[in-house]
Subunit: 376 residues, 2 copies
């Protein structure tokens, strides 16, 4: 078992291990979702090799720029776990059949994710322009905005309460915040990419971290509302983790399939929906630290101060079979290569996944230790 697999397995084991350790009691509530998700994992694992022939035949494929081989790798295979995710979500909907409000929110989240997958797949097939990449998640997040019935107030940090009061009612600005979160999550994953297994790997680690957070909050059971919100979020994340795992099996180094924009949009939207419905969007952003760093690095090229090439991959050296830093590509990947020197792609992807795990751990530390200073 190589290091990459160890990192991924650890991530998946973490919510369950920590849940068990802290005395999580609600296994019976999530058990049907786990069974359904495990089934969809098996179907996805069997289906990807079949559908990859169809995507290749449809012209959805490209060569792996970090390899010697000129062989075409099938693209957009994210459509398989994404579709199976929707099927799982639809079937698991009966879990909330008794709680009308939760079911409605669950349903709206599924609609948002479904619409995002449709738009992502359109983007893969039709190669839409850049401006649509900001428009599409905005449109797709609308179902949830309309359905959102929670608070639109934010709690003010302790030191500012004399000035601003205990909380600020944001109203419509809160809807704007939710849209921006959806737009950020989808695009942040999309631009932190280019190494085998990175898109699916990072999404899986973030999903596991968010699920761990759900299990902790469900166990703490501060009040019934928070309990329900985190249960809802967990039922969005469990099928996501299993289906992403099926894709990662084929996408990790050496990639047999590419995930496509379909997957990046799907993953970003699902995580954003879980954060919004679970009411832990600030904590979610803590798990996005690598993506935020990559976004900050990318700003000069995103807004056009520095010219932005079509791909911002590292340079592949076929002699040594390693990737080298390209100083004009402002990404976290190139920054890591600049710090460490040339790396084999497999090691680099493992390192980036480990960095993602460390950032999530840091996120938990900030959420449960440092935030006390500001909020309690």
């Amino acid at each position: 078992m190589d290091n990459f697999n160890v990192a991924i397995s650890t991530s998946i084991a973490m919510p369950f291990a920590i849940g068990y350790y802290i005395g999580f009691q609600e296994w019976n509530r999530i058990f049907p979702v786990i069974i359904a998700s495990a089934l969809s994992f098996i179907i996805g694992y069997k289906l990807i090799p079949v559908i990859k022939e169809s995507t290749l035949a449809a012209g959805l494929g490209g060569r792996d720029l970090n390899k010697v081989s000129n062989k075409k790798i099938p693209e957009s295979l994210g459509i398989v776990p994404a579709t199976l995710y929707l099927v799982t979500m639809i079937l698991a909907q009966v879990l909330f059949a008794r709680d009308h409000d939760a079911q409605f929110q669950y349903n709206s989240a599924t609609l948002s994710v479904c619409f995002m997958i449709l738009l992502g797949f359109c983007d893969d097939v039709l190669n839409l322009r850049w401006r649509y990449k900001l428009l599409l998640p905005t449109i797709a997040s609308l179902p949830l905005l309309v359905a959102y019935s929670g608070t639109t107030a934010i709690v003010v940090p302790r030191m500012l309460r004399d000035l601003l009061g205990y909380s600020i009612e944001l109203g419509c600005l809160y809807s704007l915040y939710m849209i921006l979160l959806a737009v950020f999550c989808t695009n942040a994953i999309n631009i932190y990419a280019g190494i085998n297994g990175l898109e699916a790997g990072q999404s899986l680690v973030i999903g596991c971290a968010a699920l761990t957070h759900n299990f902790i909050e469900i166990t703490l059971h501060i009040n019934d509302q928070i309990y329900t919100q985190h249960l809802l979020s967990a039922s969005l994340l469990i099928p996501f983790i299993f289906n992403t795992l099926a894709l990662l099996k084929y996408n990790k180094y050496p990639s047999k399939v590419f995930v496509g924009d379909t997957f990046c949009y799907f993953a970003g939207m699902t995580l954003a929906m879980a954060g919004i419905l679970g009411h832990y969007s600030k904590t979610l952003l803590l798990f996005f630290i690598p993506q935020i760093l990559n976004f900050i690095f990318s700003i000069p090229q995103l807004i056009g101060i520095v010219p932005c090439p079509r791909h911002r991959l590292p340079k592949y050296d076929p002699r040594t079979d390693t990737l080298e830093c390209v100083p004009t590509h402002f990404t976290l990947i190139n920054f890591v290569l600049w710090v460490t020197g040339p790396q084999h792609e497999k090691n680099l992807s493992t390192a980036l996944i480990c960095f993602q795990i460390m950032c999530c751990a840091l996120g938990f530390y900030i959420r449960y230790e440092i935030s006390q200073i500001f909020y309690y």
Copy 2:
């Protein structure tokens, strides 16, 4: 203005004219949907020429087999009205914000249609096999089945009531009936195709007939429940009619774009959802008489008693620019050509649309006159 345009314009004017004539009072309830739908019509009309370049570039196109020209016609343009339909539906959702149950059903219908569009577009791009054509609408109709909260009993015709009682509770069988309706509607439109403007034209006429039925039932206002159901159905159908019209502008003879499986699935699912949520599925099937006839003609080839070719188009005669009957293709189109002799494609499509309108009129006659014998 040619005959085809007259037929389509008449269909669209019909619900509004009849609504006005019978004293329909709820214009203010549907006015926002009409405005939103009219806007989406304009956007769709502008967007189709842009997106058709992208679909062609993506390899989604084929030559028109009923023409002399070898020029490639862009395929799958149904994705444009379908996506705009979803946007309209999501934005119009606020109309039902006060009625939780109606909003939930509306939302579930949107999810079903969205999932169907996703699967339809996948089918267009990936050329899925025949067996998926039955599986996909089954999966896509699940959100509505889970959300469906109405009656699962059917009223027994008068002459059988001594034997069976006033109504029969179908329970789970009713869910099966709803799935079969969705599967039938999507595939029935898909196989009654092959002539310029027929897929979009027939769907538009059926949509207008169903909307007319909604307006009649809303005006009759037998009870609040039936009133709400038909209002819900109308708000599903109005954006459908407008968006389909935008597509039909380019799809009618001579076709500048083809609609693709995306559109057929989208149209079938939307009509099925409207029928289920409006609780008038039997009346809806009356509007599907041409599709039912075409399905009955097709049975020998569908179940494989008679060999079934890939396309079952009429034969094009370039000398006379007409279409001729092919006796081995068991479709309604070929039957019409066999009765009338060779026809120009434009006349044939107009004739088939007029036949669709006549069947809808017959449907109304059966629903409001003949059914009295059985049910009152």
